[in-house]
Symmetry: C2
Subunit: 321 residues, 2 copies
């Protein structure tokens, strides 16, 4: 609780410690997050996603510089599922961001999963709430890759930038289809490369085909490494926020985000409760039995849970005659 008070006054060391706690799944964080939650919802949250090689880190770098230039404080969450396997190492392009580390207006954290289903989504949401509550004006959530986890993570954002790059080969088709519905703005980075026109034409074509009622995402061009197109990018973001329908769209997004948060917290809490019920060695014995096919996973889970939690509330609606 003292930690919560310090976060609310903008204490960066308290913020760092709290994020470490939520990342490790520490139990006492629930109280902490309950305490700071009413103070969230103020930061502008921008998600940055796209395939590897698109130059997302360079772009984020320039976005930080741009927003610092406007006097805003920033948090950056670099979500890296792969680092759960490499032990959370800060690699290659991450290192560049460290240039901002002496700037007290910028707070940067990498997040990795701990191998738990949904753990990354829960922890990232927690970290975002903590940064938001600590008074940072803008939070950038950058992801590596475009898997389900990454999609869930960018769903935390008010504005989602999908970064693409010319000449990425055939599989890009699959990616583009998948991110079409989460993109608020497309950024063609490294747009001085050959193929930028073709990529933009392809995107335009796909957007024409998409029949959803969301406003059609704008397509912007940047050369992040040279700082080109960054002003235009923020102008487009600002226009969105000032635009017609923004209030309603923001409200819907807040509701969707609340739903995702609830699901992630629920999954984590259920898991924790089941873990506490296990006798020592019980889980390992079950795993062994399933591995040797003496037991199947469905029956094992049934035997583990019994009738818990018992059904109540809306019952029987799924049971047919």
């Amino acid at each position: 609780v003292e930690l919560a008070e310090r976060i609310l006054t903008g204490d960066r060391r308290a913020l760092a410690r709290a994020i470490t706690l939520v990342e490790s799944g520490h139990e006492e964080t629930a109280g902490l997050l309950s305490r700071v939650y009413p103070s969230t919802g103020r930061a502008r949250v921008i998600g940055v996603t796209g395939p590897p090689g698109a130059g997302k880190s360079s772009l984020v770098d320039r976005m930080i510089a741009h927003e610092r230039g406007r006097g805003a404080s920033l948090g950056v969450i670099a979500v890296d599922p792969s680092s759960a396997y490499s032990g959370g190492a800060i690699l290659g392009d991450r290192v560049r961001m460290i240039g901002h580390s002496s700037d007290s207006g910028v707070f940067i954290r990498s997040m990795a999963t701990r191998g738990h289903l949904g753990g990354l989504s829960r922890a990232t949401g927690d970290a975002l709430d903590l940064m938001d509550a600590s008074g940072l004006d803008v939070v950038l959530v950058e992801t590596v890759g475009v898997g389900q986890d990454e999609v869930e993570v960018v769903e935390l954002a008010d504005t989602v930038l999908v970064v693409l790059v010319p000449g990425m080969g055939d599989d890009i088709q699959a990616i583009k289809a998948g991110i079409l519905e989460i993109a608020d703005l497309f950024v063609i980075n490294k747009s001085d490369r050959e193929g930028a026109d073709r990529l933009e034409a392809e995107l335009q074509h796909m957007l024409t085909l998409a029949d959803n009622d969301r406003p059609r995402p704008q397509i912007l061009r940047t050369v992040a490494i040279k700082g080109e197109g960054i002003d235009e990018l923020f102008a487009a973001i600002d226009r969105r926020h000032a635009g017609r329908g923004w209030e309603e769209s923001a409200r819907e997004r807040r509701r969707a985000r609340a739903g995702h948060r609830l699901e992630a917290v629920l999954a984590a809490e259920l898991r924790r409760r089941v873990e506490r019920r296990l006798a020592p060695g019980q889980w390992e014995d079950l795993v062994e039995a399933v591995a040797e096919r003496r037991e199947d996973p469905y029956h094992a889970v049934e035997s583990l849970l019994g009738d818990l939690p018992p059904s109540a509330g809306a019952l029987g609606t799924e049971e047919g005659p």
Copy 2:
């Protein structure tokens, strides 16, 4: 149950129907999967992963042809998290695989998530078990991307191929670190391109630095689109299976896989049970309260679950004085 019998006799239509059921999360699948589970564990499962643009689909195409040439029947699971958003469309490179669709020795399915945490991992494991139980000799699990979901999916495999391609830019560093520990074999595809030597040297260097006690993954080269290197790839896979330490490594992997299966099934079952307890509109009301910050997600989950499931078994070990 009748469906289970038909699957066990190799009926492909029954298999297709069962996979559709598990993908939709249908309740009656638990009994079905319990019934077929003892007949699983026979298929050789090969995971194929790597970043977009690496040519995984072409490679899988050639692998199918190779194994058909040896008289083996194959299942292919194409895991595509993005298609949850595009409505499961079969896109671009997927279409090529349809060339095998008239061959009764090849059974191909795309899997997408339904937006549920861990849902993809559970459904893919179920589909794999069904294919295995139906008597297919080899199952190829191909993923798009390298997020956490994909990593969980390839953990179902006996042998994991990580497909890379020369000249993929800077972010590849981050990817390589993440997949280093899941790769059994590295495949440098499109190896007639410039940069193959450099990529191999980089990989070798990273493998030298990695201090784990697993056997060091071999690095192979292919040009899938021309069919080059496929024989050598299977020779390497066969060598692994015949090699020293394979039995023990396979046993460990079966155990790890059983653990992942249990976790995924547990998460899905807990979710289902909570959903059944909800009164009509209760979830929506909670989401609204969290969105408006009248309620925080942690407190909301507490109020939803109450003391369910009550703690039992190994209790108190986490509680300090």
